[in-house]
Symmetry: C2
Subunit: 457 residues, 2 copies
């Protein structure tokens, strides 16, 4: 064994924490396509977005020039409660795998929301508060985002209304209770509380909901309530911006020990955690300073990058949100009922979509039974029971580490461990019982989803 | 506001981690009374204990002279996966309370077992493995200990059989699934698998179990299986020894910033976390070097220190374990059915019992509705949803900080935040719904429990 001069956990000092978020768009040669107004099909303006989003967040959403946005002191102080997050050297995993690879993971699960979502939740809640709003509305699928937002809102004294995808509401009662403990109201979606919810229920009476539908309800609720705005936990550029705290900390920690990764891996649903993790590395790649392999991992049952199309599409089922150019499976696409975790969004963040389109990033899809097997393998040696979402990245990290064992290459692998699986034990139970199954959509199903895309130049 | 030169989280470097556990008994003037053999009523010898416990652990259990036990390298390496644990300065809580008090908490929840229990689980599993055993048996109540042990056993390749108190097994299915994910077998107790279980079921067919009963089953299972020993997550001196890693780290972190606490607070069930936290501070107090206020907090529904008797008693309901001199409510005492969390053991660790008897420590009991209210208040500003057990310490820490607000004293308060409440949402749900209730046993109930005490000099 080599001398372990690198600790098990690399913690930055508070003074070394990033003081600004990094806006990757500023360095992109091909900028992501603008959001379009669904009525006019013209690029969304700040005015168009003002009824739905907070002012400062709109600025961040539309700005593709400013390279850094300073993190306000209040947010920075909140970050200090649970950050810096550790960059962990997976010594135990390396030994178990008998691989020459050096494996690192950035662990974002050491807070009660159980994931990286809190990084953007506090930012969005802060700007809402600063604007003098009463509260915010949002949707949540797996539940991490709703939990994170309820924590941020309770901290700042904002009201928080969460529309929770119905199947998740039923399978994860304890996620709901965490949100309630933090003072949020939680409504299963689709609900009778919104017009769009009532329409969907009329059309599909037995539906257990989808993320796209919950988004539509939350947007409608925000626009109908005085002093409320809508906030979103992924997909948007502003969210990816806030999540760059992950990548900036990761890079600072690696730099401290002169470590240069060969491969960077993250799971991809809406794309914000992956985008946040890779942003400072992608900057160097775009500028030709370094050449990293960057891998997005998505579920085989919701394969927007690997089987979707790069086109303008609606962000939500109700078609009330802006149109976004992205890799998409169509806004009506809903993963099969046996899909257990999050990562169930039909589209992908526009920045990541553009980078993937430009060949700067790879994407692979993996089946959920192999994902849970990887999760269990990881949990048993690294002591952390990972979220199903994060375990997509684990699966591919394990695969790459095993390849290194075969080839004898001592590659350095960094992956994002976005959260813990403590509220996902229903899915783990299925895995433990051997009743968890896979589903790979047929070509016909994919085509059906894509056939509904709006026809835009 | 004063200059924040002390960071939000004080992390020790890996090189600053304690390399030995501290045996408080070595410095005690009045040593704890010896365990007695229940058949002969003579002090237990290593030979007496060998069929039940591992050899090295027996040495640690019986030794009241050796001040330090070196932490084996394998255990130290495992500790590095999730330790050092942060000592957190509760700046947000202080600001919320507008108190001049300085509040710190040692947070042990950043691992999948969700608590400090892993500190002793890995030690006990390590010694079992070193002795060449096949596996271990244990009981678990709230579930943290069973989870921690299953993690440690899976890491070392040991079999792990857990008897889980039936009401907990039913209310916490997800705790069970975490243990299964780590490869443990989990049996609701009382069960038909042991003679003592069958007897108890015959006598009390509808019982939802108790910790004392689950201990009896686990001990019986260990002695009947070839290559197995029994391990216990609290109460024993060996467990308190391993948990001194908490206090040693806390003291090292405080010393780094020249902080001297005025009050040290911990929750007390079996007593091992509290004993571990206070050990190095109590050493100074015994030696007359410092004078700390040390407060044990226990549930009003299971008040062994505040309403029990200091006497020899059985450690388990089945009366198969050694007799221990301790503060006890009687081995048949079972907290009322509405008691939600752990801290439901009828007795108290012998070291703590002696210290309390000698006036070196205070004890208070608190009601569970006020405990959950404190938990919620804490969660909303400090971002961590605490375990119900840990919240007993939070409740008293808040009380002391509020007193400081009244008197204007800037006392330094340190408390043990032993774990997270992520698997306790059933109890939080009751609290959120307003259906959580209190129970304070009557004097008659306490007397009834004590009337069953064995009559020993």
């Amino acid at each position: 064994m080599t001398e372990k001069t690198i600790p098990y956990k690399i913690y930055l000092e508070e003074s070394e924490m990033p003081t600004a978020w990094y806006n990757l768009r500023a360095d992109m040669i091909n900028k992501p396509a603008p959001l379009l107004n669904p009525d006019t099909l013209k690029p969304m303006t700040a005015e168009d977005l003002a009824p739905v989003f907070c002012e400062e967040l709109i600025k961040q959403e539309l700005d593709d020039q400013t390279p850094y946005f300073e993190i306000p002191k209040e947010i920075h102080d909140f970050y200090k409660m649970y950050r810096p997050a550790p960059l962990v050297r997976a010594y135990c995993l390396e030994e178990k795998l008998q691989t020459p690879a050096k494996i690192y993971y950035k662990f974002e699960g050491n807070n009660t929301s159980g994931s990286h979502k809190l990084n953007s939740a506090i930012a969005q809640a802060y700007y809402a508060k600063k604007q003098g709003l009463k509260g915010v509305t949002t949707e949540t699928g797996a539940g991490q985002w709703g939990t994170a937002l309820s924590m941020a809102c309770s901290y700042l004294g904002l009201d928080c209304k969460v529309f929770m995808v119905k199947c998740s509401y039923e399978q994860k009662p304890f996620r709901r209770e965490v949100m309630r403990t933090y003072g949020a109201s939680v409504t299963p979606s689709p609900s009778m509380e919104t017009e769009v919810g009532r329409k969907i229920l009329e059309k599909h009476p037995g539906t257990t909901g989808s993320l796209g539908c919950a988004i539509s309800e939350a947007v409608e609720a925000a626009t109908n309530l005085d002093g409320y705005r809508y906030v979103l936990g992924s997909v948007l550029n502003q969210v990816l911006l806030h999540q760059t705290i992950i990548g900036l900390e990761t890079k600072a920690a690696l730099d401290k020990y002169d470590i240069i990764p060969d491969i960077i891996i993250g799971c991809a649903g809406g794309g914000s955690n992956l985008g946040g993790l890779i942003a400072p590395f992608m900057r160097e790649k775009i500028r030709g300073e370094k050449d990293y392999r960057i891998i997005a991992v998505e579920p085989a049952s919701c394969p927007s990058l690997t089987r979707g199309t790069y086109a303008y599409d609606y962000c939500d089922t109700g078609m009330v949100c802006p149109l976004s150019k992205m890799y998409t499976l169509g806004s009506n696409y809903i993963p099969a009922a046996n899909h257990a975790g999050g990562l169930r969004y039909h589209g992908m963040n526009p920045i990541l979509s553009q980078l993937y389109h430009d060949g700067l990033m790879e994407a692979v899809s993996v089946k959920q039974t192999e994902v849970f097997a990887a999760a269990q393998e990881f949990a048993r040696v690294e002591g952390i029971l990972p979220a199903p979402e994060s375990s997509h990245a684990i699966k591919v990290a394990l695969d790459e580490a095993k390849k290194c064992k075969e080839t004898g290459e001592a590659k350095t692998i960094v992956f994002g461990l976005t959260g813990t699986g403590y509220f996902d034990m229903y899915a783990y139970q299925k895995f433990n019982d051997g009743t968890l199954t896979d589903y790979i959509p047929t070509d016909e199903e994919i085509e059906k989803g894509l056939s509904g895309l709006p026809q835009i130049g």
